[in-house]
């Protein structure tokens, strides 16, 4: 809404006072060829690095948390370069919510599974009698790959999903973005909406 039409060229970008002494809200997005090109070049490397940190976390520094944050930062960069509003429309809500929810579910399932098998929380080796022949893994390998599953499918999913979600929720601000909700939920916070609508409608 306010993000979408904020690219007027005469608008000052630093958000300082204009000559009339009124503090204007800076436009959230202004199109920049330099930033878009840079982000396009950098994204594959950042994504690869994030995936490496995630997948290689058991053998080198890193893990699901750090890797998930780096993967989420890819989407943050896309939003900065191509506009938060258009990125939000491009990024499905089900992906963001799904990453977080599926992550918690997988971590919980792997964690509580051994309890059902008569062991302790996250006791990976309890899976061995059940799945050992099926997967062809030795006992200690269950710990290794169980940890990988928790790091990748659990923590990295949760962190990347939630960080993306936080970013777009913060960017959207207090008022709900869908039109049906805007009628009822827009005016609950007078001070905030006043400054947010101060742009250029």
């Amino acid at each position: 809404m306010s993000d979408r039409d904020g690219s007027r060229p005469d608008e000052r970008l630093d958000g300082r006072l204009d000559s009339d002494g009124v503090a204007r809200q800076r436009p959230v997005y202004s199109e920049s060829q330099v930033i878009m090109t840079t982000v396009k070049v950098v994204i594959p490397f950042v994504m690869t690095y994030g995936l490496f940190i995630t997948f290689h976390g058991a053998d080198t520094p890193g893990g699901g948390f750090q890797g998930g944050a780096i993967i989420a930062s890819v989407f943050l960069m896309i939003a900065f370069a191509f506009g938060i509003e258009s990125t939000r429309e491009w990024l499905a809500n089900s992906l963001v919510v799904g990453l977080g929810t599926v992550g918690v579910f997988i971590f919980g399932a792997i964690g509580f599974g051994p309890l059902l098998l008569g062991g302790n929380f996250l006791e990976y080796t309890r899976y061995e009698p059940l799945l050992g022949d099926l997967l062809g893994l030795k006992e200690y390998e269950f710990v290794k790959y169980g940890m990988e599953a928790v790091e990748i499918l659990g923590i990295a999913f949760i962190v990347s999903g939630v960080l993306m979600g936080l970013f777009f929720a913060l960017a959207a601000g207090y008022s709900p973005s869908t039109d049906s909700l805007a009628v009822t939920g827009d005016r609950r916070d007078g001070a905030d909406t006043a400054t947010m609508e101060d742009t250029d409608d």
Binding site: A58, T60, M147, I155, A169
Partner: protein, 194 residues
């Protein structure tokens, strides 16, 4: 990365190196500047530099996992969120570079720093073989000695996080998830994106 498994503690304290001094001075200056800058944008940028300095210190002290987290979350994502926040609000205009200094607050902070700083002398030197963590390292020593054979992970930190202390990690992951839900609740929204 791979900790010495059976090696006797042959670590020697090397004292404080010029790199450490430079990093500490950098972190100290950026921390003070974060508090002093009147312009919010300048404060956020300096705060990101502070996080980056901290990440370097962590890496320097052989804690690359913590350093990575600090760089990704502290210097990266937090900065983006703070920038987003000032983009959504107005920024008080000023021509002054620094905040006026509140001397009573400086006195309180100084006193606090003195009290906390007085405990510094109780710390062993970095890498001191006589430090309690190496002398009575039952827990640490067990992890370092058995992490690879028991979990198959070269990174002992990962094996502690995802296996030995997995329940804590599960709690932390759920906290992150809850933070996402809470943000929707606070903002009065039902969806993250459209």
């Amino acid at each position: 990365m791979i900790p010495p498994v059976d090696a006797a503690p042959v670590l020697q304290s090397v004292g404080i190196t010029p790199i450490e001094i430079a990093l500490f001075v950098f972190v100290l200056i950026t921390a003070v500047l974060t508090a002093l800058f009147r312009d919010v944008l300048a404060a956020i940028v300096v705060f990101a530099a502070y996080s980056l300095g901290l990440a370097l210190i962590y890496t320097f002290y052989r804690a690359p996992d913590v350093g990575l987290t600090e760089a990704a979350i502290g210097a990266g994502v937090t900065t983006v969120f703070l920038l987003l926040t000032i983009a959504k609000t107005t920024r008080p205009a000023t021509d002054e570079l620094f905040e006026p200094i509140d001397w009573p607050a400086v006195a309180v902070c100084g006193l606090f720093a003195l009290v906390v700083g007085s405990t510094l002398f109780a710390f062993p030197a970095v890498g001191d073989p006589l430090s309690p963590i190496l002398q009575n390292g039952e827990v640490t020593g067990y992890y370092l000695a058995n992490a690879y054979s028991e979990t198959g992970a070269h990174n002992a930190v990962t094996s502690v996080l995802a296996a030995y202390r997995g329940f804590d990690t599960f709690g932390e992951a759920v906290v992150v998830f809850a933070a996402g839900i809470a943000s929707l609740l606070v903002l009065g929204r039902e969806v993250f994106t459209t």
